[in-house]
Symmetry: C2
DNA sequence: TTCGTATATAACGATATAATAATTTATACC
DNA sequence: GGTATAAATTATTATATCGTTATATACGAA
Protein backbone atom coordinates (compact mmCIF):
# COMPACT_ATOMS: atom_id res chain seq x y z
CA UNK A 1 0.00 0.00 0.00
CA UNK A 2 0.94 3.61 -0.43
CA UNK A 3 0.16 5.10 2.93
CA UNK A 4 3.66 5.79 4.02
CA UNK A 5 2.33 8.82 5.84
CA UNK A 6 0.05 6.79 8.06
CA UNK A 7 2.90 4.43 8.74
CA UNK A 8 5.16 7.27 9.81
CA UNK A 9 2.41 8.76 11.94
CA UNK A 10 1.92 5.46 13.68
CA UNK A 11 5.58 5.21 14.54
CA UNK A 12 5.67 8.77 15.81
CA UNK A 13 2.61 8.17 17.91
CA UNK A 14 4.31 5.17 19.43
CA UNK A 15 7.28 7.34 20.30
CA UNK A 16 5.02 10.05 21.65
CA UNK A 17 4.74 8.61 25.12
CA UNK A 18 6.90 9.55 28.05
CA UNK A 19 7.15 6.04 29.42
CA UNK A 20 8.12 4.46 26.11
CA UNK A 21 10.68 7.16 25.42
CA UNK A 22 12.16 6.52 28.83
CA UNK A 23 12.35 2.78 28.15
CA UNK A 24 14.09 3.35 24.84
CA UNK A 25 16.53 5.72 26.51
CA UNK A 26 17.39 3.16 29.13
CA UNK A 27 17.81 0.35 26.65
CA UNK A 28 20.26 2.48 24.78
CA UNK A 29 22.70 2.08 27.64
CA UNK A 30 22.29 -1.64 28.10
CA UNK A 31 19.88 -4.51 27.83
CA UNK A 32 17.51 -4.68 30.75
CA UNK A 33 14.99 -7.10 32.13
CA UNK A 34 11.47 -5.99 32.92
CA UNK A 35 12.10 -5.78 36.63
CA UNK A 36 14.96 -3.35 36.16
CA UNK A 37 12.85 -1.18 33.92
CA UNK A 38 10.03 -1.22 36.43
CA UNK A 39 12.39 -0.11 39.14
CA UNK A 40 14.14 2.54 37.09
CA UNK A 41 10.93 4.06 35.86
CA UNK A 42 9.10 3.74 39.12
CA UNK A 43 6.06 2.36 37.42
CA UNK A 44 4.09 -0.85 37.76
CA UNK A 45 5.17 -4.13 36.25
CA UNK A 46 2.09 -4.52 34.04
CA UNK A 47 2.48 -1.00 32.77
CA UNK A 48 6.08 -1.56 31.76
CA UNK A 49 5.20 -4.90 30.27
CA UNK A 50 2.48 -3.49 28.10
CA UNK A 51 4.63 -0.68 26.82
CA UNK A 52 7.34 -3.18 26.02
CA UNK A 53 4.87 -5.22 24.06
CA UNK A 54 3.97 -2.22 21.95
CA UNK A 55 7.60 -1.42 21.30
CA UNK A 56 8.17 -5.01 20.34
CA UNK A 57 5.18 -5.10 18.02
CA UNK A 58 6.60 -2.14 16.17
CA UNK A 59 9.93 -3.90 15.94
CA UNK A 60 11.81 -1.33 17.97
CA UNK A 61 12.95 -3.77 20.63
CA UNK A 62 13.48 -7.47 20.83
CA UNK A 63 13.35 -9.83 23.75
CA UNK A 64 15.65 -12.58 24.90
CA UNK A 65 14.76 -15.06 27.59
CA UNK A 66 17.47 -15.85 30.09
CA UNK A 67 16.26 -18.15 32.80
CA UNK A 68 13.20 -16.69 34.35
CA UNK A 69 14.08 -13.21 33.14
CA UNK A 70 13.17 -11.59 29.87
CA UNK A 71 15.73 -9.14 28.66
CA UNK A 72 14.85 -6.44 26.22
CA UNK A 73 17.21 -4.72 23.84
CA UNK A 74 16.96 -2.11 21.15
CA UNK A 75 16.43 -3.36 17.64
CA UNK A 76 16.87 -0.29 15.51
CA UNK A 77 18.44 -1.76 12.42
CA UNK A 78 15.31 -1.01 10.47
CA UNK A 79 15.12 2.51 11.89
CA UNK A 80 18.45 4.18 11.23
CA UNK A 81 17.09 7.67 11.83
CA UNK A 82 15.87 6.70 15.25
CA UNK A 83 19.32 5.87 16.48
CA UNK A 84 20.42 9.45 16.11
CA UNK A 85 17.25 10.73 17.63
CA UNK A 86 17.33 8.46 20.65
CA UNK A 87 20.90 9.37 21.43
CA UNK A 88 19.54 12.77 22.37
CA UNK A 89 17.26 11.47 25.09
CA UNK A 90 18.13 13.00 28.47
CA UNK A 91 18.62 11.49 31.87
CA UNK A 92 19.80 8.03 30.97
CA UNK A 93 23.19 7.90 32.58
CA UNK A 94 21.98 9.19 35.91
CA UNK A 95 19.30 6.65 36.39
CA UNK A 96 21.43 3.76 35.32
CA UNK A 97 24.03 4.73 37.85
CA UNK A 98 21.45 4.31 40.55
CA UNK A 99 20.83 0.83 39.26
CA UNK A 100 24.49 0.04 39.66
CA UNK A 101 24.42 1.33 43.22
CA UNK A 102 21.61 -1.02 44.01
CA UNK A 103 23.81 -3.70 42.58
CA UNK A 104 21.15 -6.24 41.89
CA UNK A 105 23.27 -7.86 39.24
CA UNK A 106 26.93 -7.26 38.62
CA UNK B 1 11.78 21.96 34.99
CA UNK B 2 13.59 18.80 34.14
CA UNK B 3 11.02 16.83 32.26
CA UNK B 4 12.59 17.10 28.90
CA UNK B 5 11.34 13.61 28.21
CA UNK B 6 7.70 14.58 28.60
CA UNK B 7 8.32 17.56 26.40
CA UNK B 8 9.80 15.42 23.66
CA UNK B 9 6.99 12.93 24.00
CA UNK B 10 4.44 15.67 23.59
CA UNK B 11 6.04 16.88 20.41
CA UNK B 12 6.23 13.38 19.00
CA UNK B 13 2.63 12.76 19.87
CA UNK B 14 1.71 15.90 18.00
CA UNK B 15 3.58 14.61 14.97
CA UNK B 16 2.01 11.20 15.33
CA UNK B 17 -1.09 12.02 13.36
CA UNK B 18 -1.55 11.39 9.70
CA UNK B 19 -3.43 14.59 9.04
CA UNK B 20 -0.92 16.80 10.80
CA UNK B 21 2.00 15.12 9.09
CA UNK B 22 0.30 15.71 5.77
CA UNK B 23 -0.21 19.38 6.57
CA UNK B 24 3.43 19.81 7.51
CA UNK B 25 4.46 18.07 4.33
CA UNK B 26 2.34 20.39 2.24
CA UNK B 27 3.55 23.51 4.00
CA UNK B 28 7.06 22.49 3.24
CA UNK B 29 6.43 23.19 -0.41
CA UNK B 30 4.71 26.50 0.04
CA UNK B 31 2.53 28.55 2.34
CA UNK B 32 -1.10 27.62 2.05
CA UNK B 33 -4.40 28.95 3.22
CA UNK B 34 -6.85 26.77 5.10
CA UNK B 35 -9.05 26.24 2.08
CA UNK B 36 -6.19 24.87 0.04
CA UNK B 37 -5.25 22.50 2.80
CA UNK B 38 -8.84 21.34 3.12
CA UNK B 39 -8.98 20.64 -0.57
CA UNK B 40 -5.61 18.94 -0.78
CA UNK B 41 -6.27 16.71 2.18
CA UNK B 42 -9.87 16.01 1.31
CA UNK B 43 -10.97 16.66 4.84
CA UNK B 44 -13.41 19.08 6.44
CA UNK B 45 -12.62 22.70 7.12
CA UNK B 46 -13.08 22.46 10.89
CA UNK B 47 -10.86 19.43 11.02
CA UNK B 48 -8.05 21.16 9.20
CA UNK B 49 -8.54 24.26 11.28
CA UNK B 50 -8.24 22.38 14.53
CA UNK B 51 -5.13 20.54 13.49
CA UNK B 52 -3.61 23.83 12.42
CA UNK B 53 -4.38 25.28 15.79
CA UNK B 54 -2.51 22.47 17.50
CA UNK B 55 0.45 22.86 15.22
CA UNK B 56 0.43 26.57 15.92
CA UNK B 57 0.19 26.06 19.68
CA UNK B 58 3.29 23.93 19.54
CA UNK B 59 5.01 26.63 17.53
CA UNK B 60 5.50 24.48 14.44
CA UNK B 61 3.58 26.77 12.13
CA UNK B 62 2.66 30.40 12.08
CA UNK B 63 -0.24 32.21 10.49
CA UNK B 64 -0.43 35.32 8.38
CA UNK B 65 -3.67 37.02 7.48
CA UNK B 66 -3.98 38.21 3.93
CA UNK B 67 -7.36 39.67 3.20
CA UNK B 68 -9.98 37.16 4.12
CA UNK B 69 -7.51 34.30 3.93
CA UNK B 70 -5.26 32.98 6.63
CA UNK B 71 -2.05 31.57 5.32
CA UNK B 72 -0.04 29.09 7.29
CA UNK B 73 3.67 28.52 6.99
CA UNK B 74 6.22 26.32 8.68
CA UNK B 75 8.03 27.84 11.61
CA UNK B 76 10.76 25.35 12.35
CA UNK B 77 13.53 27.62 13.51
CA UNK B 78 13.20 26.23 17.01
CA UNK B 79 13.11 22.65 15.70
CA UNK B 80 16.18 22.14 13.53
CA UNK B 81 15.94 18.37 13.67
CA UNK B 82 12.43 18.45 12.34
CA UNK B 83 13.46 20.12 9.14
CA UNK B 84 15.50 17.12 8.15
CA UNK B 85 12.80 14.76 9.21
CA UNK B 86 10.01 16.51 7.35
CA UNK B 87 11.97 16.61 4.16
CA UNK B 88 11.47 12.87 4.05
CA UNK B 89 7.69 13.04 3.99
CA UNK B 90 6.27 11.40 0.87
CA UNK B 91 3.71 12.53 -1.61
CA UNK B 92 4.03 16.26 -1.38
CA UNK B 93 4.97 17.19 -4.89
CA UNK B 94 2.23 15.16 -6.47
CA UNK B 95 -0.58 16.70 -4.56
CA UNK B 96 0.67 20.21 -4.98
CA UNK B 97 0.81 19.73 -8.69
CA UNK B 98 -2.89 19.03 -8.65
CA UNK B 99 -3.38 22.32 -6.84
CA UNK B 100 -1.58 24.12 -9.61
CA UNK B 101 -3.81 22.45 -12.15
CA UNK B 102 -6.83 23.77 -10.33
CA UNK B 103 -5.15 27.13 -10.55
CA UNK B 104 -7.17 28.82 -7.88
CA UNK B 105 -4.44 31.37 -7.38
CA UNK B 106 -1.49 32.06 -9.57
C1' DT C 1 5.31 -31.19 43.20
C1' DT C 2 5.04 -27.10 45.75
C1' DC C 3 6.58 -22.43 46.44
C1' DG C 4 8.43 -18.07 45.08
C1' DT C 5 9.90 -14.99 41.57
C1' DA C 6 9.45 -12.89 36.88
C1' DT C 7 6.60 -11.66 33.30
C1' DA C 8 2.41 -11.58 30.54
C1' DT C 9 -2.40 -11.09 29.85
C1' DA C 10 -7.18 -9.59 30.76
C1' DA C 11 -10.64 -6.57 32.44
C1' DC C 12 -11.79 -2.21 33.83
C1' DG C 13 -12.15 2.93 34.40
C1' DA C 14 -10.66 7.47 33.43
C1' DT C 15 -8.97 10.57 30.26
C1' DA C 16 -7.63 12.05 25.66
C1' DT C 17 -8.18 12.34 20.80
C1' DA C 18 -10.10 12.92 16.19
C1' DA C 19 -13.89 13.69 13.37
C1' DT C 20 -18.34 15.67 12.43
C1' DA C 21 -22.17 18.94 12.66
C1' DA C 22 -23.70 23.35 13.89
C1' DT C 23 -22.70 27.94 14.89
C1' DT C 24 -20.01 32.11 15.08
C1' DT C 25 -16.65 35.51 13.76
C1' DA C 26 -14.19 38.09 10.26
C1' DT C 27 -13.54 40.05 5.93
C1' DA C 28 -14.58 41.50 1.09
C1' DC C 29 -17.73 43.19 -2.21
C1' DC C 30 -22.10 45.05 -3.84
C1' DG D 1 -26.43 48.04 5.36
C1' DG D 2 -26.79 42.97 3.23
C1' DT D 3 -24.73 38.96 1.21
C1' DA D 4 -21.09 35.71 0.24
C1' DT D 5 -16.77 33.60 1.34
C1' DA D 6 -13.01 32.14 4.70
C1' DA D 7 -11.88 30.54 8.95
C1' DA D 8 -12.46 29.64 13.88
C1' DT D 9 -15.05 27.94 17.64
C1' DT D 10 -18.24 25.01 20.20
C1' DA D 11 -20.63 20.81 21.16
C1' DT D 12 -21.05 16.15 20.56
C1' DT D 13 -19.87 11.38 19.61
C1' DA D 14 -16.98 7.54 18.84
C1' DT D 15 -12.76 5.54 19.53
C1' DA D 16 -8.12 5.08 21.44
C1' DT D 17 -4.93 5.24 25.06
C1' DC D 18 -2.86 4.88 29.62
C1' DG D 19 -2.75 3.22 34.01
C1' DT D 20 -4.40 0.14 37.56
C1' DT D 21 -6.10 -4.19 39.60
C1' DA D 22 -6.58 -8.84 39.27
C1' DT D 23 -5.30 -13.08 37.32
C1' DA D 24 -2.60 -16.27 34.58
C1' DT D 25 1.61 -18.28 32.79
C1' DA D 26 6.60 -19.54 32.92
C1' DC D 27 10.55 -20.82 35.14
C1' DG D 28 13.76 -22.13 38.92
C1' DA D 29 14.74 -23.93 43.44
C1' DA D 30 13.79 -26.77 47.33
Amino acid sequence: MNDKLAEMAELLKLLGDRTRLAILGLLQERDLCVGDIVELLGTSQPNASQHLRKLKSAGLVKETKRGQWVFYSLNLDDFPDLKIFLSQLPGRKERLRSLSILGKRS
